[in-house]
Symmetry: C2
Subunit: 148 residues, 2 copies
């Protein structure tokens, strides 16, 4: 599967989250050969749980594992510090980012620490988040800890 | 409540985790006046969920909030990158660490980014983790993403 094919899964998750009334960010964790290990989306609204970002949901869905070096975390949006910390701590080898235009997280920091980072600048992802942020700014700022 | 009183709650959580057969790390999130907002412990073993570290469990238990600047995250062990990222992203104002002897995570990075960090070097916490790591090294390394 090429990068766009991998991103498609994360984007489907983002749309699922939106359909549930949630924050439309999706993610998926893949093995190096393209096998899907886990997929998920932000659940702040749906579960009332601020700890479930898209990446953590996909990571959880993949279950307990001993080694993440050959895995790829695919996410519709640049990973925040929380999710970047997840990638760094567990040694996830690669991150594929749908877009970093509406939010710029920690992916440069990950690249500095040896993670292979690709930013796709995907138009669907940009449009989805742009509309969501315009529609629900308070919810968006809550999700990234911006309180001003 | 003084620092040791705050740490007592996190330590109780670590002991709860140990009694459940889990990894003995506990945490609690407090308001500036010492009000407990949420408490929790690592649940990798109990829930088969690699995404629930002690700090994320306490953060989840505190529910959705708009502003974390005046809160204090108390943890029995130096926060890993995942949990340090949580603190940074959500702007948690202070971190109180039981010990950083058996594991050295991201608390210096947090201090560089304006978080008030205190390391207590608490003997109970050091002894608890030292014994756990000696007893179950494979489980411990799994929890911090060390695969070698």
């Amino acid at each position: 599967m090429d990068d766009t094919g991998l991103l498609d899964i994360a984007y489907e998750e983002a749309l699922l989250g939106l359909a549930e009334g949630g924050i439309p960010i999706g993610a998926a964790l893949f093995a190096a050969d393209g096998t899907l290990l886990g997929r998920g989306h932000n659940r702040r609204v749906q579960s009332g749980d601020p700890s479930v970002h898209a990446e953590t949901d996909a990571f959880r869905a993949a279950g307990r594992r001993r080694d993440y070096r050959s895995t790829i975390m695919v996410t519709t949006l640049s990973p925040c510090w929380y999710c970047s910390g997840l990638v760094r701590q567990f040694g996830i080898g690669a991150v594929l980012v749908g877009e970093a235009e509406t939010f710029y997280g920690g992916h440069d920091w990950l690249a500095e620490h040896g993670v292979r980072v690709t930013v796709l600048n995907d138009r669907r992802c940009i449009d989805l988040m742009s509309k969501f942020i315009a529609d629900q700014p308070a919810l968006w700022f809550e999700d990234i800890g911006v309180s001003d």
